[in-house]
Amino acid sequence: MKSNKLLTLLVLSMIIFSCTDDEDPVEKTKGDYEFGYFITNEGPFQNGSGTLTFVGDDGNVQQEVYKTVNGENLGNIVNSMFIDGDRAYIVVNNSSRVVVVNRNTMEKIAVIEGNGVEQPRHFVAIDGTGYLSNWGDPFDPTDDFITVIDLATYEVQGTISVGEGPERMLATSTGLFVTLQGGFGQNNEVVVIDPASNQIARNIEVGDVPNSLQDDGLGHVWVLCGGNPSFTGSETSGKLYKILLSDLSTTYQEFGPTDHPGLLNFDSGQLYYLLNGQVFRMNPGVAELPEDGIAGLEGFYYSMTVENGELYGADAGDFASEGIVKVFNVNSGALLNTIEAGIVPGQVVFP
């Protein structure tokens, strides 16, 4: 009986809710893609287009959402995506363009391309200004730069010349941190840009091949350096750098001589990274690198994102057909879900 009453109540409330909904369009969702997250898929190199996969909170997975809405391709090698409020900036590397969309509806707003966009890698927005890392000619180590973009007009304001291979960026209270990973080569610097003047405030030397960075919210930026790979003939060990935001001083911990970690993440006060097919967790307050990986999370992920206690590991398979993203509970290692993605899934991006 009790459950019957409950059911009646539920049905009634639903009718009322839907009535009000009809009468008041302000309550409507902002778009089909408001609730959920995105997976960027690079797409096949050269002969094709990258795509976006949308995973709704209801579990619904939609492929090629940009193409579905706009009827056109994003371009070749969708490298990354940055969400800033209602807007998303999709960085298309090989096609040298940034596609700006309404992230709720996926409708195209603008395309940033031409001068100032050449082999772009990552995008970050700070207070109405966009920063885009660019390799320039990937075989020219001297023409790499950060583009400064006015996000009101989507026009390029200027460029900031940096060393070889600018990659990931992070906005902090001290400025914009840019890792100089080295592009097709190897580099060992982090550049700090002052967003007030758009000038380089500091060059910080770190380990070789800085590939990812995180802010722990406790006044430190952590930079994970993979080290030079063995084929370079000058192999170096991976290093985890800690940069103090207050004075930009550095300390580091060193990995084994042939260890090349990557994909640094920060979630719920813990750092995570991938090394030799294992996921490691580290408390930023502890001075030592962890010895054991987390059981159940093993995998050579092409990309890895830890968010709200869940780990999203991308598996690109043979790189010539659709890949998958596996979702794990980062504590128990239990596999929660396997999501079909596009060709060469890269980033998992949360609003």
Binding site: D137, F139, D140
Partner: protein, 606 residues
């Protein structure tokens, strides 16, 4: 094996005294292991001199139109690779006068870096042929033949052509011969802006310009009735900007240079032939990601020295034996190659028996050794049975291999020096009908390949090749050729259809860029000094992802040619319209091919 061959070699003196099979031996001496008589179980299509000379074009363009072969091209004039019977580009052997010329770097042949019209004939041999031919002839093989005649009238020929997209080409060839000495020369070149529009878009092929130059010199000297010494050479320079795709602009450029030299001593007796060849093959490429910054480039080159000795001997009228030794030393260098070197030695023997007038079979075996990998022992059985005067049944079964390339073995980073050769077994059964002007042929084939080399991303994100894949290919090839003459009219046709399945054993999907259906039809009508030719080729849907989730549309392409000859065929004028119906199509995804284009060619012989 070696003892056996030495025995044959020393016993040839006895053979000289005997009489007999000179016609067959001459064919074998001319065509080597592509001769029809040493391949009773296989079909060999020959593209003749006159067809080759009708235009100055790349080998890829020529074969795509004249045979039912499938090529995948990164845009017109760009890198073009073949898939025969659904095998990979490195599993089709390309040979030049019997010497394998697939790149030592990547194992493939770019069919746009070989000029088609400078050879005397081209033989296409479908089916596994590693035993007789060597490395890479898994799906089939293509041989480029030079022929040296003696005592012919001096002949010179000029060819000039011009067409759409500012395409210009020209060739001069000459032949001077006496009864004992022959000089043959060919010089040609072609250039094109190649800026065709990408139909259905606002884009055009803005970075597709190419130019290439070709030189051939052949010499022949007849020492006596039995012996002659020959020299062949081909130089080819091809400079191409690489076409943009629909999503990526390009400023890339690729420069290729190939030099091929060969000296040969041929001996022909009544029952015996021998051929000793020394060849030098050089290839190099320079790739510019941005041609405006030529200091940033990647390079690669290889040099190969080859010695090859082949003999043929009729023990009795119905028993033919054949054997050969081949030694090849190759080395490669490049931006991503270090100390790449290998020396391969292989030997083969063939026993052919004709127990009855209408039945011939072959047994053959090849073995070898190498400094870089282990070469498996492979064998082949093939035969032909004449059911009647016009019906023949052909069958073949063989094992074949494709050796790892320098890139597979030595690429920095990722090269894997522990690779095994790709191995395959193939069988086929064919029925052939031949009567007067008509030939009908139906062949079914099966290929099982294992240890296929595939590059995979390794633990550190570095790609490395491994022997991993297995594939099963099967299909049917059907062709009809015929003609009809009435008074001054000649109508001829050449129709071909191939059904090809190439299935990745693990995924159970069709391999990418292998069309299930491929068809080609050529209709030719001649009247007095006029000829009209209509050619239509159909390429079925191809999958472009290994999961078969995405594909490229099928397309039918029509080409039309009108030819008029003047002055007793000394001058020939031809008008060609390619892609007659202005069809938008892609051979490789996101890389459109040309729209309708028109070319005018003039040939003058004296």
């Amino acid at each position: 094996m070696r003892l056996f061959i030495l025995f044959v070699f020393f016993s040839f003196g006895a053979a000289l005294a005997q009489s007999g099979k000179s016609e067959q031996l001459e064919e074998i001496l001319l065509r080597g292991n592509f001769a029809g008589s040493v391949n009773p179980g296989y079909s060999i299509q020959t593209i003749s001199d006159s067809l080759l000379k009708s235009d100055y074009q790349s080998l890829g363009e020529l074969l795509e139109k004249q045979s039912n072969l499938y090529f995948k091209q990164n845009g017109y004039g760009m890198v073009s690779s073949i898939s025969l019977r659904g095998t990979t580009a490195s599993q089709t052997g390309v040979f030049w006068n019997g010497i394998a010329i697939n790149s030592a770097l990547n194992g493939q042949t770019d069919f746009n870096t070989i000029q088609g019209s400078s050879f005397n004939s081209i033989e296409i041999r479908r089916g596994g042929g590693s035993v007789l031919l060597g490395n890479g002839a898994v799906g089939g093989a293509v041989n480029l033949s030079d022929r040296i005649p003696y005592g012919e009238d001096d002949a010179f020929r000029f060819f000039l052509g011009a067409g759409s997209y500012e395409t210009f080409k020209g060739q001069f060839s000459g032949l001077v011969s006496s009864d004992r000495f022959t000089v043959k020369l060919g010089l040609g070149g072609m250039r094109s802006e190649n800026d065709y529009p990408y139909l259905g878009t606002e884009l055009k092929n803005e970075n597709g310009q190419f130019e290439n130059y070709n030189a051939n010199v052949s010499l022949g000297y007849k020492i006596d009735d039995h012996s002659q010494i020959l020299f062949h050479s081909v130089l080819f320079q091809n400079d191409r900007n690489l076409s943009r795709t629909l999503t990526v602009r390009s400023n890339e450029r690729l420069e290729n240079f190939d030099a091929r030299l060969m000296a040969e001593w041929k001996y022909l007796a009544d029952r015996f032939t021998s051929s000793l060849k020394f060849a030098f093959l050089h290839e190099d490429f320079t790739y510019f990601f941005n041609r405006d910054q030529p200091e940033n480039r990647s390079e690669g080159s290889s040099d190969r020295f080859i010695g090859k000795y082949d003999i043929t001997y009729f023990i009795r009228d119905e028993i033919l034996i054949k054997g050969g030794l081949e030694l090849e030393n190759a080395n490669g260098t490049g931006s991503s190659l270090e100390d790449a070197e290998r020396t391969d030695f292989t030997a083969y023997g063939m026993f052919q028996h004709r127990p009855a007038e209408r039945f011939t079979y072959n047994l053959s075996l090849r073995a070898g050794t190498s400094t870089a990998y282990s070469i498996p022992v492979i064998f082949s059985v093939d035969g032909r049975f004449d059911l009647s005067g016009s019906f023949a049944l052909k069958a073949a079964y063989s094992s074949n291999y494709r050796l790892p390339t320098f890139n597979d073995l030595f690429w920095e980073p990722g090269g894997n020096s522990d690779l095994e050769p790709e191995a395959s077994r193939s069988g086929e059964l064919g029925l052939q009908f031949q009567k007067e002007m008509h030939t009908i042929s139906l062949t079914g084939f099966l290929i099982h390949s294992q240890n296929l080399i595939q590059w995979q991303p390794g633990a550190g994100g570095i790609w490395s090749p491994v022997n991993i894949n297995e594939a099963n290919n099967y299909g049917i090839e059907f062709s009809v050729q015929g003609g009809k003459r009435f008074n001054e009219h000649l109508l001829s046709w050449n129709l071909a259809y191939d059904f090809t399945r190439a299935v990745d054993e693990e995924l159970d999907t069709q391999l990418i860029y292998v069309p299930e259906h491929r068809a080609n039809a050529i209709f030719q009508y001649g009247w007095r000094t006029w000829t009209a030719q209509y050619q239509v080729q159909y390429t079925g849907e191809v999958f472009i992802t290994t999961s078969n989730s995405q594909s490229l549309d099928d397309y039918a392409l029509s080409n039309l040619e009108l030819v008029k000859s003047f002055f007793d065929r000394r001058m020939i004028l031809s008008l060609k319209v390619n892609n007659l119906f202005d069809k938008a199509y892609q051979s490789v995804a996101f890389r459109p091919m040309p729209n309708r284009n028109v070319h005018l060619n003039l040939t003058y012989k004296f």
